[in-house]
């Protein structure tokens, strides 16, 4: 096979010939060819300093790269935590069946579709989620996958027909705000944006359409906020494109009618807040002062997410109007970097990436190093399943983060910074790039910042899909063009980081809080939280709560307050069982410890971890062994393979958990599991391996009886496929829906009779249970 290689010559020419450009070169090749053709890689080696060993080593390390052509359309099945607990594995299996993909095949014979699992699409509240190219489907059931593909086939060619013109008038009647966070986009806000523009244009309204970032009410998306001039704003949730015309006409017509409607609809809220189904949901107006919603926002304290929903992410003016860049201005003109560090130290802020190292101290270490070059890196390599804080912050508040990074550069004496953002976050990449470009135009970046002579350059480096690159030494290896292998610290990056130079690496959320602290003085931050953990923390609240979404809460708030008050309790009247905090590095905290305050120390005391901020609520239908297996399979899959304990230890632990969930476990397996968990924790090279056993250790600690139940042959919650059988109870009304949805012909079609499942044929895809209107399908 020969590929047209002139493109390779061109990208090498534009990107560079040094070894460090290997990942950007590979990304360009894949973008062009849809995979990495071998002759293209060989050509790169001919043209550059990159060796065959390096290019193959790097390309095969990162999940982003493919060595075989992908299908024309890419189906991504989110298997993040929230999707997992809502049955994404079965959705994935159903899709493979629907596309007739056997075994490990991931691409249809015709080359139309490639189906793959992704760790988190960041739409946890729509779980389970499937994305086909740019169209996102939420609340997918196994029975719907056929419709899903049909719908996509109809939709795929219909985009881009209409052109919209933005309505800008001298006299603005008001403003319409549309959420453009990932959840909103996924739930259809783009369609709504078009409908709004259409309506504005058709009705010749002088209304400004405004895009806002994530409001944090992801359970209500898509959101449309109507802000009539000099009147109370109204927030509509779960809006559909068809409703837009009506909503707009209500607000920009005589009032009176409006309030009445709003009131009536509010009373219906309780019924629909659990967002359990997406079909048939009408739009509902929400007044932000109303009880449920205000409690969703009430105990929260927006710092990283300050002005949420009020500012256009890429509009620098709006950021400036609300105090943006004043912190930078004040401290840079003041000319004493040490005052910044003093202020941060006083504020008590600790790194938001999970480990909680005091930020001021870290900055001080880098500042104290003497070196010709120093670097600042913003770690946005968020990869936890079920966590999308970084993505939301990057998409919604790029200027705030950039301001934090520039301040860090000034305080530490660095002159170059990098955003490390996952290539899977294209929206974040483009928003941040826009914001960086604006900052150069406005003199916040470049050779002579604000006329002070301070020089700082900032660029984006796109991560290629490796969770381990969230570990700072692996991240640095990746920027240098290597496999993302972490290395032992010391030396810490503050001493020897990027290209051997002192480097400050902070998490995105940490940078997002810097400007606030400096603008409002350290006391404003210091006064929030507990003695050891100051300020606020952003969490992605998902799972079995009534209201999920992105939240920013003061440190020290209890798990119970988050679940019950902010999250509105457990959905569908089920019982609260546990929360999983901290993703694959964290642990499961049982409901009886729900009064544990959320701060670094308290969480690690109960065997969990702040992590980067995933907070998944589990109810009594969730199997804790399955949860442990789920997280461990994630870390096992993401292990870089460098050190023995993580590479083999996690694999052996996973094998034991698989054995247990398949009903082949023995009591002695638990002892082996504990030994492996203990030594993987003690012996692994980096944080990934050291924390990988946490989900296992915490569930073993609090839910050992569930492990024992599996060993004795039953899964108490009926989640583990190999230990359950599907069964139809006497409640069956003979509606035949189950028989129609069964892909395995395991249910005979018998109208008005009680149906029966042939357990020999049953493939346990869960379709029948999902469609049954009488809850007559059970597992046992």
């Amino acid at each position: 096979m020969s590929t047209d290689l002139s493109y390779i010559d061109a990208i090498v020419e534009s990107l560079g010939k040094e070894q460090r450009y290997v990942i950007p070169i590979l990304q360009s090749i894949q973008k062009r060819y849809n995979y990495l053709p071998e002759d293209a890689l060989r050509r790169v080696c001919e043209l550059t300093e990159i060796t065959p060993a390096q290019i193959v080593g790097v390309a095969s390390f990162y999940a982003q790269f493919r060595f075989k052509p992908a299908g024309k359309h890419l189906i991504k099945v989110c298997v993040g935590t929230a999707c997992h607990v809502k049955g994404s594995e079965q959705v994935f299996d159903a899709l493979k069946r629907a596309l007739n993909l056997k075994g490990n095949a991931d691409t249809t014979d015709s080359g139309s579709y490639t189906v793959e699992k992704v760790n988190c699409l960041g739409c946890c509240t729509l779980a389970p989620v499937v994305q086909i190219d740019s169209i996102t489907y939420g609340h997918v059931t196994t029975g719907q996958v056929g419709n899903l593909i049909r719908d996509f086939e109809e939709q795929k060619d219909t985009t881009g027909k209409k052109r919209f013109r933005n309505a800008e008038g001298e006299e603005i009647e008001g403003e319409i705000r549309i959420g453009l966070g990932s959840c909103c986009v996924a739930s259809g806000s783009e369609e709504i944006r078009k409908a709004v523009l259409d309506s504005i244009e058709r009705n010749n309204l002088n209304v400004k359409l405004k895009h806002v970032g994530c409001v944090g009410m992801c359970h209500q998306v898509p959101l449309v906020e109507i802000v009539p001039l000099n009147r109370e704003p109204f927030l509509y949730s779960k809006v559909q494109a068809a409703d837009v015309e009506q909503i707009i006409s209500k607000h920009f017509q005589p009032k009176g009618f409006l309030r009445k409607t709003g009131f009536r609809l509010l009373n219906l809220l309780d019924t629909f807040l659990d967002d359990s189904r997406w079909e048939g949901i009408q739009r509902y107006a929400l007044d932000t002062r109303e009880k449920h919603v205000s409690s969703f926002l009430g105990k929260q304290k927006p710092i990283a997410t300050e002005f949420r929903g009020q500012i256009n992410p890429v509009d620098m003016e709006e950021y400036r109007e609300r105090g943006g860049f004043t912190a930078l201005q004040k401290y840079i003109l003041n000319g004493d970097p040490s005052r910044i560090i003093d202020e941060l130290k006083r504020s008590g802020i600790r790194g938001r990436g999970g480990a909680g190292f005091p930020t001021g101290k870290k900055w001080e270490l880098v500042a104290a190093r003497k070196s010709d070059r120093k670097y600042v890196i913003c770690n946005g390599d968020e990869g936890d399943p079920g966590a999308f804080m970084d993505r939301m912050l990057l998409e919604s508040y790029p200027y705030r983060i950039i301001e934090g990074i520039i301040i860090a550069g000034y305080a530490t004496g660095a002159d170059e910074g990098f955003f490390y953002i996952r290539a899977e976050y294209p929206l974040a990449v483009s928003r941040v790039q826009t914001a960086i470009d604006r900052c150069y135009e406005e003199g916040y970046l470049g050779e002579n910042i604000l006329g002070t002579g301070f020089r700082f350059n900032l660029s984006i480096y796109q991560g290629a899909g490796a969770f381990v690159c969230g570990e700072e030494t692996a991240l640095i290896a990746s920027i240098e063009g290597n496999r993302g292998f972490p290395r032992i610290r010391p030396p810490f990056p503050a001493d020897k980081g990027l290209w051997g130079k002192p480097t400050l690496v902070n998490n995105t959320e940490t940078f997002a809080q810097i400007a606030y602290i400096l603008r409002h003085q350290s006391d404003s931050f210091n006064s929030i939280g507990t003695s050891g953990s100051k300020g606020t923390k952003v969490f992605a609240l998902a799972g079995k709560v009534a209201r999920g979404g992105l939240i920013e809460v003061p440190m020290g708030i209890t798990i119970r307050e988050v679940v019950m008050e902010i999250g509105g309790g457990i959905a569908n009247g089920r019982a609260f069982k546990a929360v999983q905090i901290g993703g694959p590095s964290g642990g499961c905290v049982p409901s009886w410890l729900a009064d544990t305050p959320i701060d670094y120390e308290s969480l690690s005391e109960v065997g969990a971890m702040m992590g980067s901020g995933g907070l998944v609520v589990l109810d009594d239908t969730d199997c804790m062994v399955d949860i442990a297996k789920y997280f461990l399979s994630f870390t096992q899959n993401e292990s870089c393979g460098k050190c023995t304990f993580c590479r083999i230890g996690t694999k052996r632990m996973l094998e034991i958990l698989e054995k247990i969930t398949e009903g082949n476990g023995q009591e002695s397996d638990l002892e082996t599991l504990e030994v492996l968990a203990e030594w993987t924790r003690k012996g692994s090279l980096c944080g990934l391996g050291k924390t990988a056993p946490n989900p296992v250790l915490s569930t073993l600690k609090y839910f050992r009886e569930e492990y024992m139940a599996h060993i004795n042959g039953t899964c108490p919650t009926g989640k583990c496929k190999d230990l359950i059988k599907y069964y139809i109870t006497e409640d069956c009304i003979g509606c035949t829906l189950c028989a129609q949805s069964c892909p395995a012909d395991a249910i005979a079609f018998k109208p008005l009779e009680r149906h029966v499942i042939d357990t020999e044929r049953c493939i346990k895809c869960d379709s029948c249970r999902q469609v049954c209107p009488e809850n007559a399908v059970i597992t046992r």
């Binding site: 065959p52 060993a53 193959v56 032992i488 292990s639 393979g641 023995t644 052996r652 030594w679």
Partner: protein, 517 residues
């Protein structure tokens, strides 16, 4: 020099060096497989873990520099456990045999694959020398052995086992037929005397190896002629007396004295015990008699301690049916060899531990997909037929020996994984998995052979080929548990290792890449 505290002792070390080197320079052994000076550092194997005495945390000693005031625990139960677990994890994915299954099955532990290789090359004398390292009477055994080795032969899963026993017989017969029979090199005289009671297979074997070790050895036997059960219980048509006599003659030629027609009773025994530095009882199953000698017996025979064959802490040893009735001559022979080792330990003032059995990596049965891999170094031919009485001809021996699949590992002599596994008592089964990688053998390179299933992913070869600027070299492919080492773009090993093949083979800490020899 800076001061650090290691295992509660303060030592001075050179500044700027790694902890592992500081410890080793001070005579503290630290195991390590992935650490190699002269190439980039890479923390991988984790068997060099030590504990920080201040924090209690473990860290790989290859990856930290010494610092003034460091407190290191380099050796205690927990540190040993950490290394043992790292080794056990590595062993759980290390698919390969150290010694071949036939050798492990052989009660005398003979190096069968090596014998086969030499026979296949027509090097019959060399083959005999290999045989005689473990079996004192190969021509005899070649006629009567029940050949447990052939039961374990991997070739069995493909067609029929290699005729190991007949190959060994050929080596023995070929020697006896020659003008100058092979006499092993005798260690310089130890000037110590050992009495062996009984001239059956166990006693003969012991006398042979004691003599090789430099002892003056005298055999006391109640029969008219030495040989014990070999002479009395085996049909002469199967084992002609002249073959037995010829091999016993070799033992005489080594300097062993035989006292025949002597019945050892309690008094005689006490006398021997008084006159000799050690006494070995190899006189068969006679519990009543041994009781009269004042020795403890259990139901099966004399009571000895563990693998040493020693009775209590005396200078008396026992082997063969004296311990437990056996009809398996090869087992008696094997014990005769092993007890010579124990007696040597005692008489040279060392602790008596018995002959050590090194750790062996094993993976069980061959999968059908692996037949082809194993046949790469063998021939597909069927077993060479022979009537048992005649034995193989020279041509037949060469053909049959070529059927051996060489299941033993070439990396044995310097395999760190094996050495440490042995040192730390690691078990390959502790974290064993139900699924294993398939064995593959890449043999097309002239100088080295590559068996990826044995690779422990230490990356030394990757770093070496990169440091020496191989055009293709070796690289990590994939990541995590599934990571493999290979030549980029699926190029051949020949292309991958143009410059440093032997360097790589010598540096590989296990048998994944080894010299072909």
């Amino acid at each position: 020099m800076i001061k650090i505290i290691v295992d509660n002792k303060e030592i001075s070390v050179r500044p700027g060096i790694r902890v592992i080197d500081a410890l080793r320079e001070n005579g503290i052994e630290v195991p390590s497989m992935c650490y190699m000076t002269g190439i980039d550092h890479f923390t991988s194997c984790m068997v060099c873990l030590v504990r920080d005495g201040k924090t209690g945390n473990f860290y790989p000693s290859c990856s930290h520099m010494v610092e003034e005031g460091m407190v290191i625990i380099s050796e205690d139960e927990e540190v040993r456990e950490s290394r043992k677990i790292a080794l056990e994890l590595l062993l759980s994915e290390h698919v390969g045999d150290c010694e071949a299954p036939c050798q492990i099955a052989c009660p005398a532990h003979m190096n069968i694959p090596l014998m086969n290789r030499l026979l296949a090359e027509g090097k019959f004398d060399e083959a005999l020398r290999v045989v005689k390292q473990d079996i004192a009477l190969p021509a005899v055994l070649g006629r009567i052995c029940t050949a447990p080795c052939e039961g374990a032969c991997r070739r069995r899963t493909i067609d029929e086992p290699v005729s190991i026993c007949l190959l060994k017989r050929f080596a023995g017969d070929h020697d006896l037929a020659g003008d100058r029979k092979y006499l092993p090199f005798r260690e310089s005289p130890k000037n110590k005397r050992v009495a062996v009671i009984g001239a059956g297979p166990a006693g003969l074997s012991a006398a042979y190896y004691l003599s090789v070790r430099g002892y003056d050895c005298e055999v006391y036997d109640r029969n008219r002629m030495p040989g014990g059960s070999l002479r009395k219980e085996v049909d002469a048509a199967v084992l002609p007396e002249e073959v037995l006599d010829a091999e016993i003659q070799v033992i005489r030629d080594l300097g062993v004295t035989f006292h025949q027609d002597i019945r050892v009773d309690a008094e005689r025994f006490r006398e021997l015990h008084g006159h000799f530095d050690a006494v070995l009882i190899a006189a068969g199953n006679h519990n009543d008699e041994y009781g009269k000698w004042g020795l403890n017996t259990v139901r099966t025979g004399l009571e000895t301690s563990g693998d040493t064959f020693r009775i209590g802490d005396t200078g008396i040893f026992a082997v063969g049916s004296a311990l437990r009735p056996t009809r398996l001559a090869i087992r008696a022979l094997g014990q005769g060899k092993e007890v010579a080792f124990s007696i040597d330990q005692l008489l040279t003032g060392r602790q008596v531990t018995g002959e050590p059995f090194l750790f062996n990596s094993r993976f069980g049965k061959l999968a059908p997909e692996e037949f082809e891999e194993y046949l790469k170094e063998s021939v597909p031919d069927a077993r060479v037929a022979v009537s048992h009485n005649r034995g193989f001809s020279r041509e037949e021996v060469i053909r049959e020996a070529a059927r051996c699949m060489h299941c033993d590992c070439r990396g044995i002599p310097d395999c760190k994984l094996r050495i440490y596994a042995d040192q730390y008592g690691a078990s390959q089964k502790r974290f064993g998995s139900d699924s294993r990688k398939l064995v593959g053998k890449q043999i097309q390179h002239d100088a080295v052979i590559f068996e990826p299933s044995k690779c422990i992913k230490c990356g030394i070869c990757v770093r070496l080929t990169s440091a020496h600027k191989e055009e293709f070299g070796l690289t990590f492919i994939g990541r995590g548990f599934d990571v493999e080492v290979g030549v980029p773009f699926g190029e051949s090993l020949k292309k991958g290792l143009r410059k440093v093949a032997l360097k790589v083979a010598d540096a590989c800490p296990t048998g994944a890449i080894s010299r072909k020899v």
